[in-house]
Amino acid sequence: MSSTAQAIHHEEHHQSFFERWVMSTNHKDIGTLYLSFSFLMLFVGGSFAMLIRGELFEPGLQLIQPYFFNELTSMHGLVMIFGVIMPSFVGLANWMIPMQIGAPDMALPRLNNLSFWILPFAFVLLLSTFFMPGGAPAAGWTMYPPLVLQGGESIAFMIFAIHLMGISSILGSINIIATILNLRAPGMDLLKMPMFCWSWLITSFLVIAVMPVLAGAVTMMLFDRFFGTNFFNAAAGGDPVMYQHVFWFFGHPEVYIMILPAFGIISEIVPTFSRKPLFGYKAMVYAIACIAFLSFIVWSHHMFTVGLPLGAEVFFMFSTMLIAVPTGVKIFNWVTTMWKGSLSFEPPMLWAIAFIVLFSIGGFSGVMMALVPADFQYNQTYFIVAHFHYVLVGGALFSIIGAVYYWLPKWSGHMYSNFWSKLHFWSSAISVNVLFFPQHFLGLAGMPRRIPDYNVAFADWNMVSSIGGFWFGATQLIFVGVVIHCVFFSKQKATSRVWEHAYGLEWTLPSPAPHHSFTVPPVIDDSQLAHGDISH
């Protein structure tokens, strides 16, 4: 560490709380802000889920009115997607990308501050709709017209909130691309970068490509609702299905925006705890790029029952099934990385293994749903709900928790409790299956999604699912305890490498990572990189 860096480090200690956390341009502080914000939102969205599972515990209505139930399912989806999964990945990118490529900070630090601080305002707007006349938007997170247009004035707030979230994530992505393409330390070739950087580089392009599409869709909706246009009004020559096409042209790449960074994280964790280099590094990079490309040409598989022409059904079936190939390559490569390794099972590895299993199960149901005739029986049932919760909770969320357990000692300088973090893992891994696996059965038995009440034949599995839900929800309180203990109270110091076989530039820095790191570009030693020499 150079003396200049130390001087700056010293100076930063005298920042006031307001200067450090509100006016921050430091990638680590902004990363912490992103992660703290998404952690808070996890419990906001989670409390909606608890109410939903509470109402679904038994047939009949016991707790809430159906309209409020619809508000909850809609807001649960919006909060979890835009408030939890996306910002926590951006938070991880902020913390880790500069440290992984040997950069002093993100390329555009002030933009970084702006892209974070837009978010809290967006979510105040979005959540305030609960308190407005007519209530929050209640047409599902997909916001299909004409139903959404029946909502109160609050949909204007929802639309503006979505615009803001879109701006925030586009700015974040521009920053990530600029950082990766411009600030790599000399010798850090693109094909020596950690997989996490690769996954975010590609994800950023997806974000920039599709968030404006969503903005366009909701803006047309805004005009239809308030300014007398008829984009989606069939009675005046509009087309409600056009909204679905535009929405899912955003929506499907969005699915990969929420899973590609997870692929990056798992590709970091698995080699570390297998003590073996990642199998097929280049194939992993190409697979991500391939998935990103394919994600643009599969959107109509969300719409197999809207009455597409036969040719479109067949095309979207084929293109969707094709995605299984690069995704399969990734899963096979992770498993092969473990094969003949020397495995140990610290918390990050446990979450990564659970990720591979749960994400694969979500992928399997995905392949089944790609088959058009079969999808006619699954479409809009709980089978779909089970599928996307396996990939988003068992997939994206598990990878984020794994990433926190992987890098938290580097951030805080302390180790967390081994016992409580493992209890958190086992309790989550079991309850998430109790919660979501029975939903496959409910869907196959014919239970539609987005209903607050159901026939008594669906009662048993719903009760099992709800019990799993409460269990999973309560388990996440352990996570809060583990993180707070680690950051503020833990006495056990972390070493700079933290994990025995962890390679990459971030592990060459002390723990906790100094407020300013790599103010002078590091000299790259290939043997210290996870993918330093990929020729063998």
Partner: protein
């Protein structure tokens, strides 16, 4: 009968609803019950969701059978792949533990292996996609339908109009308005105090809570029926799982689905596209009658409609000339 595509006005709907509550309605039910009496007992075989159900029903149409086969094939392929992948992981976890003294190898490439697990999945997927494509074509072929019924979704009920049967337009048969049965509607209110388990179909003993309607759609067995599906307010979805007939009901768009049901019975489904607060309360019930009984039922309906119209004309005439009261 309104066979036009698009947005009809609400007065049409409310007029229909009033008609339904009139004597015509009662007469129709009596007629139907009389005609059906004997067959109702044998309807118990119809597939309904059962407690702890874990898989799709095979259904009762050739299409639903083929879909079930495809579903099972895909499921077994996934199970096999799952055993392979999770098995390899499990072996790694058991055998290659550092705590057991495992030493990591350093290889990270194997071109043959990588080619293999790119090509083999493509072949497996092609094996699934081929029958799926053939079946999709079949599902899209609604030609040669002997009967056409128009299905319209409203918040929150279904409307059925008979358009044609046996190559002839169907006239005089009144529109059927099919809304949630009243016992379910009472039980489903927040804090109603009525247990959903107390809602039972008396003929079959099936707990039909939220799966029973005031007036089911009636179709003949062994006849290819084409459903023209649309909606008049927001998007709904018309789906009878046992028929594997399913299409979104979208305002301004006329979708079609078809089913040829050989086995008479009572078949149930639900609206599957979120359509507002009572989305969970617009079930679909289709009563499939043997062809001769259906023909008798249809004639009865036409008869009743003619009588009803005559009665109403007779009623309306003196009112016209009488001075308005109060």
């Amino acid at each position: 009968m309104n066979v036009e595509l698009g947005v009809s006005d609400y007065s049409d709907l409310s007029k229909g609803a009033i008609t339904m509550s009139s004597s015509n309605c009662k007469r129709r039910i009596t007629g139907a019950v009389a005609a059906l009496g004997a067959t109702l007992v044998s309807m118990a075989a119809a597939a309904n969701p059962v407690p702890w159900q874990m898989n799709l029903d095979k259904g009762v149409t050739p299409i639903s059978h083929q879909i079930w086969n495809l579903h099972m094939a895909a499921l077994w392929v996934c199970v096999a792949l799952g055993i392979l992948v999770f098995g390899a992981m499990f072996i790694s976890i058991v055998r290659f533990r550092r705590s057991k003294g495992a030493v990591a190898e350093t290889w990270s490439h194997n071109t043959l292996l990588e080619l293999g697990w790119t090509i083999v999945p493509v072949l497996i997927l092609a094996g699934l996609a081929t029958p799926a494509t053939i079946l999709t074509r079949e599902m899209y072929n609604a030609t040669d339908a002997q009967m056409t019924v128009k299905v319209t979704g409203y918040q929150w009920l279904w409307r059925y109009d008979y358009i044609s049967y046996d190559g002839k337009p169907v006239t005089k048969v009144p529109t059927i308005y099919s809304r949630l049965a009243w016992d379910s509607n009472t039980a489903r209110q927040l804090d109603s105090g009525v247990s959903p388990w107390s809602v039972v179909d008396k003929q079959t003993g099936f707990h039909d809570y939220l799966l029973d309607v005031t007036h089911p759609l009636v179709i003949p067995a062994g006849v290819k029926v084409r459903f023209l599906i649309t909606a008049d307010d927001v998007i709904h979805g018309w789906w009878v799982p046992d028929f594997a007939a399913k299409r979104d009901a979208i305002p301004g768009i006329m979708n079609d689905a078809w089913a040829k049901v050989d086995k008479p019975g009572l078949y149930r489904g639900q609206c599957y596209v979120l359509c507002g607060q009572d989305h969970s309360a617009m079930p679909i019930v289709v009563k499939v009658l043997p062809k001769d009984q259906f023909n008798a039922w249809l004639a009865e309906q036409q008869n009743a409609a003619t009588l009803d119209k005559a009665a109403r004309t007779a009623q309306a005439a003196p009112q016209k000339s009488a001075p308005a009261k109060g």
